[in-house]
Structure formats: structure tokens, C-alpha cells
């Protein structure tokens, strides 16, 4: 299991919470070739990213290999306040996962 790959930042402005996150991930498409050996680099990308607040899913993102390396996602939602915890998790094409809790500032 991957660790410490999610870098979230969430802040509340009134009733609206903005979440920005960066995830460290190679996002290999499976189409690129290794320049030295000429062999294809196998595909390896994040398939799903889930954001939960109070056990409720606020964002369920389905990603493909065409999302840039080290994916960045920004979203906004209502109903959360400063100090609340968010749970962010991802799962990739090799079954690897990571989860991170973020506090809304």
C-alpha cells in the first residue's frame, strides 16, 4: 500500500468548502516506450478517487490513463464547516490504494 501520496488542502468559506488535492502517481498510459530498452512501460494509473465527509461521498471520481501524471483535482461542496474531517482515498489499476484524512481549515 502506498503511503503519503495524497496532499489535500481544504478550506471553508461560509457554507462552501473548496478541496484541492494532489496525488503522487506516475499515471502511465501503457503506450509509452522505455527509450533504452524499447519495451513498453506497462499501464499504471489511478482508477477511482473518493472523497467522503461524515461518511457521505461528496465526490466519486473515475479517472483514466489520460489524466496527467500526479493528478490534481479541485472540487467544491456545501454542508461542511471548518474543523470537519474529510477522508480521501484512491485505488489504481494495480490494486494499490492510499487513504488520507484532511481537516477543513
Amino acid at each position: 500500500m502506498a503511503t503519503n501520496t495524497i496532499r489535500p488542502r481544504a478550506y471553508a468559506d461560509g457554507d462552501m468548502t473548496t478541496l484541492k488535492m494532489l496525488i503522487d502517481h506516475p499515471m502511465e498510459t501503457g503506450l509509452r516506450k522505455d527509450k533504452k530498452t524499447g519495451s513498453k512501460i506497462p499501464a499504471h494509473y489511478i482508477e477511482t478517487v473518493t472523497v467522503e465527509h461524515n461518511g457521505k461521498v461528496v465526490l466519486d471520481a473515475l479517472l483514466g490513463p489520460a489524466v496527467s501524471k500526479n493528478p490534481f483535482i479541485q472540487c467544491k461542496f456545501k454542508g461542511a464547516k471548518s474543523g470537519d474531517a474529510l477522508k480521501i482515498s484512491w485505488k489504481d489499476s494495480k490494486g494499490d490504494t492510499d487513504t488520507k484524512e484532511a481537516k477543513i481549515s
Binding site: T29, L31, V58, L59, D60, L62, L63, K69, F72, C75
Partner: protein, 154 residues
């Protein structure tokens, strides 16, 4: 120990299943399985059809796509999609000329604003299409992004 957790989880799953069947649970977003077929589709129409079950797109002026008109590096292109449409269930971002156009699809909860910002790869100059599912209907808008260096295969 393993057996015990297995028993416990199957038990709770069973209870939740019964509760859901009886309509006791408040409706929540059901996590979709990763739509492999849609991500492997080679055209916009087939990708949308595979993802949404329909490809009847209505062009809409209420969807705004923010993207750079010229991307120096196709590997990282900032795309922001927002819409004034109500009851938005999902926002999907497709790049028409990519080998597989579907880049990502975001399922939104009722509390989530119809706004998504992310970064995608754009292989060559292409139209970036946003598909918004709102009230069971599909709306779309497009915007051209010129790419000077390709994002795939580089």
C-alpha cells in the same frame, strides 16, 4: 481472526442489504465500478454511450470550460468545467483526438457544486468536450486546445 472478521462483515452487509431493500436507508450515492469499456472506447460517441448508456448529447451554452487556447505541453493541460445546470449528477471530460477520448468522469453528490478542475493529457490539437449529466439528460460543450508538444508517447 480472519474468519471472525469475515463473518462480521458478511453479517453487516446482510443487514445493510435488508435495510436497503426495505427502503430504510436514506438514498446515498452508490459507488460506480470503474467503467473499463468506456475508458477503452476509441471514439467520443462510443465512450459516452458506454459510460452513460446513451449518446444523445444536447449542446448547451450553460456549460463553461476553462482551458488554455494553446498548451505548450500536452502532458499537463488545466481544464476547469462548471455549469449553471441544476441537479448535476456527473461531469465527464473527453479529449476528442486522444486515442481513447474519455479522460475522467466525476460523480457528484447533491451537496457538491457543479464544478471540477483537473489536469489531463492532450495528445494533439483537439476539441475538449465536457459532458454534464443533469436530470437524466446529457448536455455537452466543447472548446479547442492547440497543442505544440504531444502529451502521449513523449
Amino acid at each position: 481472526m480472519k474468519r471472525r472478521t469475515l463473518l462480521k462483515s458478511s453479517l453487516t452487509a446482510g443487514v445493510a442489504g435488508v435495510a436497503a431493500a426495505a427502503g430504510l436507508l436514506t438514498p446515498q450515492m452508490v459507488l460506480a465500478a470503474w467503467p473499463k469499456g468506456a475508458f477503452e472506447s476509441k471514439g467520443v460517441d462510443s465512450a459516452v454511450k458506454s459510460l452513460m448508456g446513451s449518446n444523445a448529447l444536447t449542446a448547451s451554452g450553460d456549460i463553461s470550460i476553462k482551458a488554455p487556447p494553446i498548451a505548450e505541453n500536452g502532458a499537463v493541460v488545466n481544464i476547469a468545467v462548471s455549469t449553471k445546470l441544476k441537479n448535476v449528477d456527473s461531469i465527464s471530460i473527453l479529449v476528442e483526438k486522444n486515442a481513447t477520448p474519455l479522460t475522467s468522469s466525476f460523480n457528484l453528490a447533491p451537496v457538491t457544486e457543479a464544478f471540477i478542475k483537473t489536469r489531463v493529457k492532450v495528445a494533439k490539437t483537439s476539441s475538449v468536450i465536457a459532458v454534464v449529466k443533469s436530470g437524466g439528460k446529457l448536455y455537452s460543450a466543447g472548446r479547442e486546445v492547440k497543442v505544440t508538444i504531444g502529451g502521449c508517447g513523449g
